[in-house]
Amino acid sequence: MAATMVSSAGALLAMLNETHPQLKQHALYNLNKFVDQFWPEISTSVPLIESLYEDEEFDQHQRQLAALVVSKVFCYLGDLNDSLSYALGADSLFDVSEDSDYVHTLLAKAIDEYASLKSKAIESNAEEANVDPRLEAIVERMLDKCIMDGKYQQAMGIAIECRRLDKLEEAITRSDNIHGTLSYCINVSHAFVNRREYRREVLRLLVNVYQKLPSPDYLSICQCLMFLDEPEGVASILEKLLRSGNKDDALLAFQIAFDLVENEHQAFLLNVRDRLSVPKSQSSESVQPKPSDPEPTQNENSTASEDVPMTEGSSVSTATVQETDPNEAIYAERLTKIRGILSGETSIQLTLQFLYSHNKSDLLILKTIKQSVEMRNSVCHSATIYANAIMHAGTTVDTFLRENLDWLSRATNWAKFSATAGLGVIHRGHLQQGRSLMRPYLPQGGSGGGGSPYSEGGALYALGLIHANHGEGIKQFLRDSLRSTNVEVIQHGACLGLGLAALGTADEDIYDDIKSALYTDSAVAGEAAGISMGLLMVGTASEKASEMLTYAHETQHEKIIRGLALGIALTVYGREEEADTLIEQMTRDQDPILRYGGMYALALAYRGTANNKAIRQLLHFAVSDVSDDVRRTAVLALGFVLYSEPEQTPRIVSLLSESYNPHVRYGAALAVGISCAGTGLSEAISLLEPLTSDVVDFVRQGALIAMAMVMVQMNEASDSRVGTFRRQLEKIILDKHEDTMSKMGAILASGILDAGGRNVTIRLLSKTKHDKVTAVVGLAVFSQFWYWYPLIYFISLSFSPTAFIGLNYDLKVPKFEFISNAKPSLFEYPKPTTVPTTTSAVKLPTAVLSTSAKAKARAKKEAEQKANAEKAAAAAESSSAAANTGKDKSSNEKDGDSMQVDSQPEKKAEPEPSFEILTNPARVVPAQEKFIKFMEDSRYAPVKLAPSGFVLLRDLQPTEPEVLSLTDALSSTVSPAGGSAAGQQGSASAMAVDEEPQPPQPFEYTS
């Protein structure tokens, strides 16, 4: 018989009116059971049940039951506030573990309520919020339940949201996979904790938890400590690891140091470095970081000042080996290494070598541009120079310039300035030879009658670019140059150079020097000085900002105001709420240029936070300000705020990109370009595509540049629109009737698209999701090129090499292979452009590759191997087995990339392999990272399973001789050179080679 069901709660409701309490109880009990079904009926009787709840004479349990029923009815009615307050009245009867809609809804409500109460209390600095203890109890019950059920992530999320650090700690320590939960928690704290202060608290807690663990994850601790700005902690951890007898610990320390360097926090790194204690026997003088530049005159001293303490330290340590105990000696040796890493030299040097050896830039593109650009159009002329600099950023390859000296000499005045400064971009990170390279252009001490002030100023700027964020050795020289001149062009260059070199160091003396340049009230020098002050004070939120603001109000020169406005914005970098007063002050200013600076301040203070308040403010200015400049910048600033969530940007600015106002459209294009840089995001490309054929020339310019930023390092295989875009660029450049502005955009875009020899991408976040200060600042200043073209070079600061560089204990690059589990064609370099005419350009692609017949012979051999390997794969062997044969046979290969290029014709014939073996150091583009696998039977094991960047490798067969790579690539540097600059370059690189031990010839082993 089918179960009979009640059709109405009327009977129960009637029973509630009975006088006998037991009947009421019965009715309530049953109502509670049926409330999910009959709440519409019950809702009319809610007042009655409420009165039962308030009836003092009624039994406690019954009152709670009544409250529960009322709460449920209110919940169904959608009145969550009342529902919650009655649920609190129900106390223990409200069962958090019940799996019903009601409980879920109310729990969410309760937690929201609690979290908002808590955060409100903290924001208003009240000692202890008067939070309903019953509410707290519910939340705690929920948290306990989550922890009991093993839903640690949920518990952590709630705990963070509710600011219950005690519960957070409990959740972490009780979880089954503490390391996993901790790293999850770090991610959460970066992504979802909006208030900087609170985030610091969370991280501090995490550090504490980490330290209590039996096997702490030092990598993560140090990342947290860096965010907390506690160099002491990092230093002590590093020291502990370095002093350990285990070689692996030292490797870990190196890895930590590399990871820290990636975040580009110069001041912090220097601080850590200086805090590392000295080996006992070592004299204290070597610890003193470089007594200001001992070698200003003789350039034959090939080691730059940077290297002085390093070599000194090692010599001392070798000297002390005999007399002190071996532990100290080992420590001293390791200390010099880690100092080298922390100062950034090691990574810069390795990056430089990588970029040089893997340079794949296509000179033919430049040649086409050069030929199509009209002689007299100086904008396009210098745009070509910019494009060349960007294309070769950090590769030290200046072939194009050397081959076209005549053409280059057409650059006059400021164009000359940029042409000279372009050398700085090309040689970026060439710390040792930077000075000697630029020598012919630098101001000749005292005489003043040397070259033109434009090239001198440009050279100083170039020095800054070379030493960007690592300017220890060059600062003094730049200061002297700044002080000894009163030519405003040179001052301009010196200020920019100083700002770059001393980025974020907040050095008072330098500040004073720049300030005196500012107070000359010369428009050209003052603008650079303003920016430079900002660069110097990045993220310090110092009170210097108000000083700058006062001067900005006093001066008449728009250029100076603009420079200062950007400078002020830079000082509040990353300060989030702390910057609010300053932002308020700037955005309310009468002067549109200062409001414009306010937009930058918003962008930089809230960089990468996706903070809703900042976004709202920016959108407001984007549509309401009277000045086009401010509106444009406001939209552009969105890109900075959102770069941590690039998927969001196209959606947010999509409406703005259809604005009637071309400035807003321009801003929208750049915002997408900035935040989606290097991602190749499909939505971003779709949004930019129509803008590249906008009716207004400068919108086209912005869109082309932004598109190039988004597509950097992509090839046609991953998105066919890349090919279309390249063809479009070519068309614009070749078109005689195209506007200069968009032509310039197209030229710059070609440069950015192939930036850094096609081996760099634009990356604003490090792999640990920290913001990269230099990169963000670089892009911010770059976006200023609207007013001042030479600032285009700042984009080079945001380039980061897409490389996997494995290092052994000696910080050398050993032979090491790993797999990329994807079709090689997906991520390979774009094919070199074909020669349109039968000129001598054919040799160009090979010039940077391998040398000659030797390589061809090798190619033949490799083709056989390739076939073998493929046969092996076809024989259904496992991929690792296939990799094995590949490895054995190719152990004498020199360069994975040459193999890739040389064997292309063969690939067409056979189906493409589904994986690819990469050789250390290898180009690993961001999209490729998820396909990277390490081989299990390899000689080296990575300390950290990172798919790119610097990775320390543990040598599992330490007794066998190591085969090093990279160094051999540099040996081919000594290429025939022409022209005076080239001669310098050749000798410089020869010197660089001399430092490295000659690699053993790998051929002799196998063949």
């Binding site: 179960a3 009979t4 069901m5 009640v6 009327g10 009977a11 129960l12 029973m15 009975e18 259809e658």
Partner: protein, 267 residues
């Protein structure tokens, strides 16, 4: 047999006896006890669990509630009537498939309809009516109530009052008396709206009173706001018409303008 059930049956017998004796107090006490005991049975609504004695228990519970309803009519307690009727109702509606129909069902349903009419709850009256089957509508008890309602709605108040003579059961008398008063209230409400004043004799006639004293007493009790002056009943017309809501025109204009401005500004 289940001892609990036996106990309930015995108690029920005593309750019936008390009812017959018209011993209201004992009856109420016993009823209260019975109700509490009934909560112990799991076969009853709203649980409707299938226990071995389910049919027996259900029938017994229905009997008890039917008696309770009748008792409440007897003592003239409308609230109790409502309570008991609602508790009885599931036995008629939800349990109808399992129990043989009760002889008193239609009488009680008719009573309930009358009660709603008396309390002037016309909407609920029709809701109840909709739930009844066509055959039930043919039943004299129901028919009686339906006809009364129709007359009541038409304003044929004399027909309502004369229907008192044709009640199907004696128990209906109680409500028929009350109905007269409901009719009078209705008339009073209408006259209030319709006239500014009425002479006492007219008022007496309209309100169906046999003497002026009764009228005066009624006015004193029910409508103290009415004024009697110079042989005329003056209805208070002071009830000022509810102030019509002011249209927030200024606010609306502002809002529209700001929308227009924003629209212009956005992209």
């Amino acid at each position: 047999m289940d001892p609990q059930l036996t106990e309930v049956s015995q108690l029920f017998e005593r309750f019936k006896a008390a009812c017959v004796r018209e011993d209201v107090d004992t009856g109420s006490n016993l009823l209260s006890k019975l109700k509490v005991m009934l909560t112990g049975f799991r076969s009853l609504p709203p649980l409707f669990e299938d226990t071995p004695n389910a049919i027996h228990e259900l029938t017994l519970a229905r009997d008890i509630y039917e008696h309770a309803v009748l008792l409440s009519v007897k003592i003239g307690d409308q609230d109790a009537f409502e309570r008991d009727f609602f508790q009885l109702k599931p036995y008629y509606t939800d349990a109808s498939g399992r129990l043989p129909p009760s002889s008193q069902e239609y009488m009680i349903l008719g009573l309930n309809l009358l009660r709603l009419l008396v309390q002037n709850r016309i909407a609920e009256f029709h809701t109840e009516l909709e739930l009844l089957s066509p055959t039930a509508l043919e039943n004299p008890c129901i028919k009686h109530a339906v006809e009364l309602e129709q007359s009541f709605m038409e304003g044929a108040y004399n027909r309502v009052l004369s229907a008192k003579q044709t009640v199907p059961y004696k128990t209906y008398d109680y409500f028929m008396d009350l109905l007269a008063k409901t009719v009078r209230d209705e008339i009073a409400g209408c006259s209030e709206k319709a006239y500014d004043y009425l002479s006492i004799s007219d008022a007496r006639q309209t309100l169906l009173f046999s003497s002026d004293d009764e009228l005066l007493q009624y006015i004193n009790e029910e409508h103290p706001e009415w004024e009697i002056k110079n042989g005329v009943v003056i209805f208070q017309k002071a009830k000022e018409s509810a102030p019509c809501k002011e249209i927030p025109s200024l606010q609306l204009i502002n809002q529209t303008l700001s929308y227009a401005r924003e629209l212009e500004r956005i992209v």
